[in-house]
Amino acid sequence: MTGPADGQGGGDRLPGLESRLFDIPEDKFIEVVRLLERVRDHPDVRQTFAAIRPRLVQVRPSRRPTLKRVLCMPFEDVLESFNGLDVPVGRIERRVIDPVWRLVTECGDRALIDQLDRQVQETAPGNLNALRNIGRRLWPMAAQAVRGAVGAAGEPDTGRQALWRVLQGDEEMRRQLLDVAAFLEIGLTIESLKDTLAPKPLAVLDDPHVDAIEQAAQAVARQSAGLVYYLLLVAASRMANPADLLTVLNDLDFGKARREQPAIFAQLSGLVVTNLEERSARLESKDGGKGAGTGPGAAAVAIAPEEAVAIAERLVASIDTTSAVMDVLADPVYRERLDAVKATVRSMVAGAVLDTAPAGILTAVPAPAANGRPAPVDEDAQAAAEDHARALRRCEGLAGALGLHEPLKDAMASMEKGLTARAQALLADYPKAAGDPDDAETAEMNLFYALRLLELVAGPAKADRLRTAIMAATGEFAEE
């Protein structure tokens, strides 16, 4: 390792490694990660791990297990993501992990921690059962240690001192530490529920999933009624549309927590709405605060049209489900908050898909060149334009919910008109290329690609007129 341990002087070798770690093949990347993990406590290596995290998230090499990682297992689903727009319901910030670990190691059962640490080191990566067996002993002790330190009165001095160092007046941190303690208390039940609610994100909530949630809720309720809420947070975070959980919640039997069910429902509903607001706020920040009406290209720089539509579809599904469920609560404030979320989604879609359509779709069809030779075919531009055209078509499914009917209709009509005009210009120019086989082939490809865009935007019936005109111009299927 280069340089001193404070990481100030050793910054010349590892940063170079960081950038290379994005380019090397996957198997090599996994190998390097394994090697780095052996010295992962070194500040430079920690910095390297932070830098390569996007690729770690993508490749997901089975990491060397550590006791700290086992500690996080029950609440890993509610940890905030490193990037992206999806925020888990009831999220725990990553900055909480180190303080939790410090509290557990400083206030917990030191002998047990040492013993479990040795066991973890002997466990092979990916041996989930062994890690859960270690967790079975670690989590209750850790929950008690965190609660003991954060709890109001009667805590031992060591706890108070440790907590003072950790919190330094940070109330949000204190709240999240208590949440972590709750997740740890029901760690085993959470782990077993995860197996059923897999793979994540769960697209549809089927009967076996609902049964498993109900049984887990009853088991947790026997421990403490207040913990059921935390179990449901994990369940919601494993779902593609967390609001789906709300739709089945009132039909579940919470066993000993039956009396708390309305309160849990209200608490979770509020959180789902807050979660939607957080997700839409991230849209605004990614969007640079710009939405519809800021001119072409403003939002597309940040969000690709297809991504924008996919995000909007997920959010609209969540908003719709939540709205339907919220009617039960009959709270107008929720309605206003959901409408505000919807308005954000609307401007994101308008900015990233509709406003940018002329630049994203029309420019893929080249204008006839002045020298009479066809413009070269640009298949990358064509692929991007096709993605944009598909995104535009998918907006049809969102138009009703977002009030985008008119702007969408206008955008589609303008694309159809623009594509037809550009294709006609190419068609008029075709005879100039027809004499040379290579030029003719290029000109025909340009025409066929324009035809395809028109088909995507306006449908096959309207595109068929252009197809007939192209076939007549090229004479390809002329009757012998």
Binding site: Y449, R452, G459, R467, F477
Partner: protein, 368 residues
């Protein structure tokens, strides 16, 4: 013209028809054949998830179904083909995709496939020349050293092939003509000792991967599509068993190139028949294996829907080709899996399902 749904258990490959890689979801992998008076017909399985097959006159298809631009073009190309064996259908399909009508990725894949066909043809031709020379004891290190694509290599090859023709007691022109015929028939299958397996041999290998994938999926994923996946694996296995026998027989005949050249009339017909049988056996499978590869990136629900989609277009063997009646067996599976099929686009309103088309085009970009 729609003749109505019929129970369908074809006797021969020709009667079953060749699968066409249309991109319109309703028409994807439908089969085309020459029916009465050699008129082209298309066989559309289970419209609206019903049982049976609809036989539709080729010219009526565009009136019945709202087709993609790619499919209109392909439809026009196929009608101009004299025959509709897998070879002709593939040629037309690649031509349509190369035009870009199934998207840039499919166009690139089609261009790659056509280039590979050409390279495979050249390689097979070269390897067959070496086989002939070896068969008559004229192996030449000088020729190998010079390489067949140099002037010197070609001069040496011509010289040796003239001597080989004398040894086989035939005219050199005839030897070259027969060599070209064998190369054309062999290239898609590939020679046993070829450094690169032929397209159909690769298809057989992909089918083994698909069979394993289906078996693993049926075992590991709790889904009501699991019995469907098991059935897919069984059909694949049955096809692999027959394919391996045909392939072994084909390679044995090509290996004995001396007797093949001498007993040309009968021997060549047998070789050509075996190659055609390989093509028919694997017809329709490349889309299926490609679709399953594409589905690997999706969640279990999407995979279950894909399994059901694939079941609908599974190339069941005709009665004369197999001892087992898969058509009858498939009816039992069909009854069980009806619940979880993915809806095709509404063919009555002609509303295109752009996501379904995109899925089909993604397969085309992988397995043109």
């Amino acid at each position: 013209m729609l003749k109505g749904a019929i129970e369908y258990a074809p006797s021969t490959f020709e009667e079953r028809g060749a699968a066409v890689a249309f991109t319109t979801p309703l028409l994807s992998q439908t089969r085309v054949r020459r029916g009465e008076r050699s008129k082209l017909e298309v066989l559309i399985p289970s419209l609206s998830q019903g049982m049976g097959i609809y036989v539709v006159a080729w010219k009526s298809v565009p009136e019945m179904v709202s087709m993609t631009m790619h499919d209109r073009y392909l439809h026009d190309l196929i009608v101009r083909e004299e025959s509709c064996s897998p070879y002709e259908i593939r040629r037309a399909t690649l031509k349509a995709a190369r035009r870009g009508l199934a998207g840039p990725k499919a166009a690139q894949a089609a261009r790659r496939a056509l280039d590979e066909d050409e390279e495979q043809g050249t390689l097979t031709h070269y390897l067959l020349i070496l086989s002939i020379l070896k068969a008559v004891g004229l192996e030449s290190p000088e020729m190998l050293k010079a390489g067949i694509d140099t002037d010197e290599g070609q001069r040496l090859t011509r010289q040796l092939m003239t001597r080989a023709a004398e040894s086989l007691r035939m005219d050199a022109t005839l030897l070259y003509a027969r060599l070209a015929d064998i190369a054309a028939v062999t290239a898609p299958v590939g020679l046993a000792h070829s450094p690169r397996p032929g397209r159909l041999t690769r298809g057989l290998n992909d089918l083994k991967g698909f069979r394993d994938g289906m078996m693993d999926w049926a075992r590991d994923v709790p889904s009501d599509a699991a019995p469907v996946a098991e059935f897919c694996a069984e059909v694949a296995q049955h096809t692999i068993d027959i394919g391996e026998k045909v392939l072994g027989d084909f390679h044995r005949r090509i290996e004995a190139i001396g007797p093949l050249m001498r007993d040309w009339d009968d021997a060549f017909i047998r070789v050509r028949t075996q190659a055609a049988r390989m093509a028919w056996l694997l017809d329709g499978w490349s889309h299926i294996t490609g679709a399953w590869e594409v589905a690997q990136a999706e969640d279990h629900h999407q995979q279950a829907a894909t399994v059901n989609d694939l079941f609908r277009i599974l190339p069941l063997l005709p009665r004369r080709e197999s001892s087992r009646d898969f058509v009858e067996d498939s009816k039992q599976v069909k009854m069980a899996h009806r619940r979880s099929v993915r809806m095709l686009e509404d063919w009555r309103t002609g509303q295109m399902d752009i996501d379904a088309i995109r899925r089909i085009e993604a397969v085309k970009a992988r397995a043109p």
